[in-house]
């Protein structure tokens, strides 16, 4: 490639700062006492402690799975800190009581915690290390019967809802990391939208890992009751540190009859340096259930960060005529690895699913799409459309596709399209010949490639995603 391309330097990860705050931290290691301590700190009801312990006992019998197409040294679970909370004297009554240093951190990240920014119309829950530090806009939402709060608060204020839905989509025994999360999860977000209510604004959570050697195990539970609808946005960053940090979250979505949940993620955890040192291991279980007829769940994700990403946001299409969607952009550069995709499980009649996956590999990055489309015997008329496109930038990266299709009903129609392209010197030259510099040329080509996914994102998020993509690919052609 031309010299001008080679001399482009990688921009620093600008979210990599550390906030110096006092934290209430449990010693590293995991056993039943640690779980009891977490549960006690959070003043949880007995059912939840029992649920955690059951998951923990199950987890002890499980082994860490190694089927994904990713490589990393084994994790020592006894070295991880399972609970770290910013120290506050009393429960937070209002936003003004949030530790100014945390406020500052979120300001740096551009997160609208302050009341003036709330006017921009996004309700935000921010999770700092393990606990939620403030949920904005709550009152306004409460008037409509919408509950949007931290998971801990939901446990305190709405234990019946938590008990009814927790683990109904991702059981405590689901998989190794989900079981670990079920045992030790510290906080996360909770949303309940009552019957027939359309949530008037996007709900948003920002996750931030700050403390050292801390695992982040959030638990998010979103329930849209009959005919309700909600759009939820999730963003994440972490400081740059030399050691790897584990992020093993669980997200459960429940859409009842006629309900719609749209879940969008822009994931930008620290990816490690160019030699692969440090970075987040993002091992996440995300699953939604269309529990009633005509329910709809749509996942949109833009994954640019993390050393290793391993996640398959999935939809169980139980209700007849329900709809599942998965739109994904996954970018790997440097030594990043991603094994991501989705599962669409068709149980009900005339259920429909759409999968659009865009994998971009640059540097020495390895990107795998892994998808399962499963049509069960009762799912007459089920339809799936899968489009899986890979783009390679440079010669050292890799793209891999693992589509699994399991159709047990003859009336089902499953369609799969795949393509692999390379950003060629000729494409870049064409744009340069029209006056664009290399960076703008690559950004234009890549954004064009991701268009079908970006247009699913809420406007502001889409702009942010485009910028992130540009930054994560800087200096990648050479």
């Amino acid at each position: 490639m031309s010299e001008s391309v080679e001399t482009l330097v990688n921009r620093e990860y600008k979210w990599g700062f550390v906030t110096d705050i006092e934290a209430d931290t449990l010693p590293p290691g995991l056993n039943e006492d640690v779980i009891r301590a977490i549960s006690a700190k959070k003043q949880e009801p007995a059912f939840l402690l029992e649920w955690r312990l059951k998951a923990y006992r199950g987890w002890l019998k499980m082994t860490e799975p190694h089927w994904p197409n990713v490589q990393y040294p084994s994790i020592d679970y006894q070295k991880i800190v399972y609970y770290s909370a910013p120290r506050t004297q009393k429960p937070l009554g209002s936003l003004d009581e949030v530790d100014p240093k945390i406020r500052e951190t979120y300001d740096k990240l551009g997160i609208p915690l302050t009341e003036q920014k709330i006017l921009s119309g996004v309700a935000v829950d921010a999770v700092f290390d393990s606990v939620s530090v403030g949920t904005t806009y709550k009152k306004h939402l409460a008037e409509m019967g919408i509950i949007f709060c931290s998971f801990s608060e939901a446990v305190r204020e709405h234990p019946e809802l938590v008990q009814k839905y927790l683990g109904t989509v991702v059981p405590g025994s689901d998989n190794f990391f989900a079981a670990l999360n079920s045992a030790v999860f510290s906080d996360g977000s909770f949303v309940y939208v009552p019957k027939g209510v359309r949530c008037p604004m996007d709900l948003s959570t920002y996750f931030r890992i700050n403390a050292q050697n801390t695992g982040q195990f959030e638990r998010t539970l979103i329930i849209a009751d009959e005919g309700a609808s909600v759009s939820y946005l999730e963003g994440c960053t972490a400081p740059r540190r030399d050691e790897n940090q584990l992020h093993a979250a669980v997200v459960e979505l429940v859409a009842l009859e006629g309900a719609t949940i749209k879940y969008s993620t822009v994931q930008n955890w620290y990816a490690g340096d160019e030699d692969g040192k440090g970075g987040i291991y993002n091992f996440v279980t995300k699953r939604g259930k269309c529990a009633g007829p005509r329910a709809k769940i749509s996942w949109t994700q833009v994954e640019t960060g993390s050393a290793i990403t391993w996640k398959y946001p999935s939809v169980i299409l139980q209700g007849d005529d329900s709809v599942g969607e998965f739109y994904s952009v996954a970018v790997v550069n440097g030594r990043q690895q991603a094994d991501t995709g989705t599962k669409m499980v068709h149980l009900g009649r005339n259920t429909r699913s759409t999968i659009v996956s865009k994998g971009i590999s640059a540097g020495a990055g390895q990107n795998s799409y892994r998808g399962l489309v499963k049509v069960m015997p009762r799912a007459d008329g089920a339809r799936n459309y899968t489009q899986c496109d890979s783009m390679l930038i440079g010669n050292r990266c890799g793209a891999h596709t693992f589509p699994y299709i399991d159709v047990q009903n003859r009336t089902a129609a499953v369609e799969h399209e795949a393509s692999t392209s390379k950003i060629g010197e000729d494409q870049i030259f064409y744009l340069k010949q029209r006056g664009l510099n290399t960076e703008n040329a690559i950004s234009m080509i890549v954004n064009g490639f991701c268009k079908e996914v970006f247009r699913e994102l809420p406007m502001e998020f889409a702009v942010e995603a485009q910028k992130l993509l540009g930054i994560s690919l800087e200096g990648s052609v050479g």
């Binding site: 490639m1 031309s2 001008s4 060629g424 010197e425 000729d426 494409q427 030259f429 064409y430 744009l431 340069k432 010949q433 029209r434 006056g435 664009l436 510099n437 290399t438 703008n440 234009m444 080509i445 954004n447 064009g448 490639f449 991701c450 268009k451 079908e452």
Partner: protein, 256 residues
């Protein structure tokens, strides 16, 4: 006034393979030059080297453009300075609309010249005028750049871009190949409409039929990396009837 383009003893290679073997060419403002020659003789290479394609290394000689040394400049700097190449094989950019692409290019070039960027609404007005040059309606602007375009549409799109970017030096690489009569007329009319005393065209073509529409001031024959003959427009007619063999001594190569 300095010539628009002055090429002296230009040598260029791909890897170890020398393709251009001492080209001399001077193009003044207001002129149209036609470059003809057998397939594989180096016509596209010459155009790409002038535009700065990184696959080619200039191993000798010089390319001066308005008294600047072009070989020192990045391709985008050359474009910003007014060099335009209509590609023999225009590239597809899926997912990027023609409108967005053209406006970005237009604004990059304006920025480089210290002019203000044009907003999308004003750009629509400007486009309306330019679309007339290639006899197109506005629909084409919402399609992805060259994606799924027919061969003829791609070539017309190159001319549209040229009309918007208003280059001083336009290199047209076989813009006429694969065009039907109508498309050929549209492309040729476009070029004629854009011709001005302060710009110049270098037109690579195999066919006299284009030169019936775009009348060249000079015709050059390129063979095996060198200009073996130059003349006026009548040279093209001679080539049409006699072929290239009398000039090159070899049968037309099959490679392109």
């Amino acid at each position: 006034m300095a010539p628009l383009l002055e090429i002296k003893d230009l040598h260029a290679s791909v890897g170890d393979k020398e393709i251009l073997k001492g080209i001399n060419l001077t193009v003044n403002a207001g002129e149209v030059h036609a470059i003809m020659g057998p397939n594989g003789s180096g016509k596209s290479t010459l155009a790409q080297v002038i535009a700065g394609h990184p696959a080619y290394t200039v191993t000798g000689g010089e390319i001066r453009y308005l008294d600047q040394d072009l070989t020192d400049m990045d391709p985008e700097e050359r474009a910003q300075a007014g060099v335009f190449l209509a590609f023999q094989y225009p590239v597809e950019i899926p997912g990027v609309t023609n409108a967005y692409f053209l406006r970005s290019a237009y604004n990059e070039i304006r920025k480089a010249r210290g002019l203000e960027e044009v907003d999308p609404i004003d750009f629509v007005d400007l486009l309306e005028e330019k679309l007339k040059v290639v006899e197109w309606g506005p629909d084409i602007m919402q399609r992805a750049v060259n994606s799924g375009f027919s061969g003829g549409e791609k070539k017309r799109n190159e001319i549209l871009q040229m009309a918007v970017l208003e280059p001083k030096l336009a290199l047209l690489d076989e813009t006429d190949s694969g065009l039907d009569i109508d498309a050929l007329r549209i492309v040729a009319n476009g070029v004629n409409a854009l011709k001005r005393p302060d710009n110049a065209y270098v037109v690579v073509t195999h066919y006299q039929r284009l030169l019936n529409h775009i009348v060249p001031d000079f015709v050059h024959v390129l063979a095996d990396g060198q200009i073996v003959k130059s003349g006026g427009k009548e040279l093209a007619l001679e080539l049409e009837s006699k072929g290239y063999e009398w000039l090159t001594g070899v049968a037309e190569a099959t490679a392109s």
